[in-house]
Amino acid sequence: MHSKFQKEILQFYRQVIKWANLKPEPARLTIKQYAQNEYRKNQNIPKKKFDRIEFLFRQGKNKYEIWKDAKIDKIQMH
């Protein structure tokens, strides 16, 4: 069973994917890849390090707040 905090993080992931699905083509794919990459990179952080998890979650939320109303062409990772 997931804890409440884990559920929040997964709900946020779904929110980002839903938002990305409404975007036109090059943006949609790159945003999904970006979100998936970020989640996969940090999927193995132990549950105990909730400081780090909270920090990454807040960072993700801040990015979402800033980008959700913007017109995005695509997100590229170098």
Partner: protein
Amino acid sequence: MLQRLSTVIRRPMFWHGTHHHDSNDATKRLFDTVSSTVKGIQQINYVVEHDPKLTAEEKSKMKQFLIYRYDPADENDFPKYVSYYVDLKKIPPMYLDALLYIKDNYDSSLSLRRSCREGICGSCSMNCNGLHKLACIHAIDTDLTQPAYITPLGHMFVVKDLVVDMTNFYTQYKTIDPYLKRKTPKEGNKEYIQSVEDRKLLDGLYECVLCACCSTSCPSYWWHPDRYLGPAVLMQAYRWIVDSRDEYTDERLEKLAEDVKVEDCQNIGMCSFTCPKGLDPQKSMNHLMKLIEEYKERKIASATL
């Protein structure tokens, strides 16, 4: 000649209200307990010496600074105090000067916000020795036997070292509409007329630089940062209500009266105690609550008519 000297050595010019308030005993006792718990916690936490090769003799001539360091983006880092020794004769007297000296000469990875170096921009607000102050106008205590603790603003998320996340504070400030709103246009094409007495009502309110020192030292704001607006924002709300040029007073009072926004103020008094510009948010908030009570009575009276 002697007469001219005595006129030159004048008392320094203060901004309106920078004399220290005659805080009553309750506030002083509260501050002592709060700062001693803060210092107590600071003392038992992890301290790292930045330069372990200093001799005791060298250390005795320098002031020890214990600065909170934490980089949340680095997964192996944890919050700690790093101790730096600074010779006070080499630096100007303020905390910001010590921090910039440390950043220039010892450890350039120290992160802090600063801009005007004269207490007018509100960037460098941080916890200096237990009190929330602006580092650029708060003088270092020259007692070399005691260390100086510098930590970021209390109960806020840390972005790095002494830099904190202020987005909640700014969004709350935006909700009170901090600008002049008029229903009738100006007479002529010059300016909104205001009498001298009405302008005096704004003294002690307009000098606020939104440094967030007061809000982050209010225990009520620590426990309810989402719903309580905090002393800084409420003092600015009062500033716009009391401004005679603004014509939306009733609407502003209505907006403040509807939620629990103002009622969380328990008259603790830490806001006025810690204001680095010497302002008095506690007094303004008491006035504001009185105005809201009067407005509510007027509303009930006019509804029953």
